[in-house]
Symmetry: C2
Subunit: 221 residues, 2 copies
DNA sequence: GTCAATATTTTTGTATACAATAATAGATTT
DNA sequence: AAATCTATTATTGTATACAAAAATATTGAC
C-alpha cells in the first residue's frame, strides 16, 4: 500500500466517478476538492492525470477536468472489445493452461456458485473477478492479462447493473462451468465461443443493459 | 496544439525513451531534467504520470521514475495482442466498411507503395500509419480504434526495426493489397487472417525481430 | 434593451518553498 | 575488518505563492 496522498485521492475520486456520485460532464473544482480531501491541489492534480489516462476524466487545457461517463454506445463498444479480449485469453489458455490453473479456476467457480446460493453478492463479485483474472493469467501473456484486467475494472459498475437482471446470475454461473469444461478439453474454439457469449452484449442482454443503464444515475452526454 | 509545458515535456521524454536515448532501468532525476528542459519540477512530474500510464515509466513511491523498456518477451506479447486487435478491427471493418473508407484505404496503399519505390522512408512510415489508423476507424468501434492506436504507437520503434530486414518491406506492401482485397470482398475471415500474418511475430519474423532487438540500444532487464 | 468592448474575478498552470522519506556516509562496536 | 547503528545528505512528495489564461461582470455605445 502506497502512502502517497495522490494515490488515495485517485482511488477516492475513481470510486466517486464509477458509483455515479459525480455525474457526467461535471467539472471537478480543484480548490473545493482539495478542501474536501484535506490536501493541496498538487496531489489532486496528479490524481487527475492518472484518471484521465484511464479515460474516466477528460482534461481540457486551461479549462479543467471533466467527468467522462461512457454513453450507451461507448459502453457497448467496450463490451465488444472485452468479449474479444477474453475470447483471445481463453484461446491462448486452452493451449497453455496448467493443471494448477485449472484447479484454481475450478475452485473459484465452485466458490462463485456457493456465494450465489447464499445470496452473498459481495463475495460473488469477488470470486467472479478472481475467476476472470485467473483466466487472463492462464493465457500466459502478461501484457494481454494486464489489458484485460484494466478493461474489466473499467466495466465493473456496468457489469453489476447487468447482473441485477432476473435469471442473468444463474445463466452466468452455468456459463462458467461451460468455459471450464471447454478449457479442460483444450478446445480453443469452444472456449473462445463460450467467453464471447459470456461477455458480449447481444440479444436479450442488450435490452437488459439499456434498461439498467437508464436506471443508472448518469446524465446523457 | 496544447501550450502546456507539461505536454511538450511529455512528448520530448517519450521521444527520448522510444529512441533508446534513455536506457532501460535508468532513473530520471527530476532536478537535472527540469534544468535540462528549463522548467520546474511540477510539469515534469505531470509528464511522469502520463508516461507511467502508458507503461513507458515505472513510478516507485519515494524512489523515483524508472525507464521501462519491454524486454523481448514482453515485446512478443504486445505483438501478439496487436495482431489480435487488428484482426478484430479487420473483422468488424469487413462488415461495416464504407465505400469512402475503401477509397481512402486504397489511396493510402498506393501512396505507401509509391513512397517505398522512392525510398522515402519517412513518408512510407507516415502512410503506413495512416493505413492502419484508417483500418481501425473502419471497424466502426471508436473504443477499439483508440486502443489499437495506443498499442500501435507503443510498438512503433520496434516495427521500424523489423522493416530494416531485407525483403520485409516488399512483403509488407503486398500484404496491404491482400488486406484491401479481402476488405473489398467483405470476407471477415480472410481480412482477419491477412492482418494476423501482417502483424504477428511468427516464423521467420521472430528471428528477424530477435536479431534487430539485440542491435537496438537497450540493456536487458 | 441589446450588443460589444473592457475590467474584474476566477481558475488553471508553473515555480518555489517546505516536509517526509529514502539513500549514503561515517562512527562505533564486536 | 565487518557489521550495525546513527547522522548527514539527497530526493521525492506536498503546500503555497505567483503567473497566465479563461470566464464573468461591468460599462458604454447604439
Amino acid at each position: 500500500m502506497s502512502s502517497r496522498r495522490a494515490d488515495s485521492v485517485r482511488e477516492a475520486l475513481e470510486q466517486m466517478i464509477v458509483t455515479g456520485d459525480l455525474v457526467n460532464g461535471e467539472r471537478l473544482d480543484e480548490t473545493s476538492l482539495s478542501e474536501q480531501f484535506g490536501c493541496s491541489r498538487t496531489p489532486l492534480r496528479e490524481a487527475f492525470q492518472s484518471l484521465a489516462a484511464s479515460g474516466l476524466l477528460e482534461l481540457v487545457p486551461h479549462r479543467g477536468a471533466f467527468v467522462r461517463h461512457p454513453d450507451l454506445g461507448e459502453m457497448i463498444e467496450m463490451f465488444e472489445v472485452m468479449a474479444e479480449l477474453e475470447a483471445f485469453c481463453g484461446r491462448l489458455a486452452a493451449r497453455r493452461v496448467t493443471t494448477q490453473d485449472l484447479a484454481d479456476l475450478c475452485k473459484t467457480v465452485t466458490a462463485c456458485e456457493d456465494a450465489a446460493a447464499r445470496n452473498d453478492s459481495d463475495r460473488y463479485y469477488a470470486e467472479n473477478e478472481k475467476f476472470h483474472h485467473l483466466l487472463y493469467k492462464a493465457s500466459g501473456n502478461g501484457f494481454l492479462a494486464d489489458q484485460a484486467k484494466q478493461l474489466h475494472r473499467r466495466l465493473k459498475p456496468f457489469r453489476r447493473l447487468q447482473l441485477r437482471v432476473r435469471g442473468r446470475l444463474q445463466q452466468s454461473l452455468s456459463e462458467h462451468r461451460i468455459i471450464l469444461n471447454a478449457l479442460e478439453q483444450g478446445s480453443e474454439d469452444d472456449v473462445a465461443a463460450a467467453l464471447r457469449t459470456h461477455v458480449a452484449v447481444q440479444g436479450g442482454k442488450f435490452n437488459d443493459l439499456m434498461a439498467s443503464y437508464k436506471n443508472f444515475h448518469l446524465t446523457g452526454t
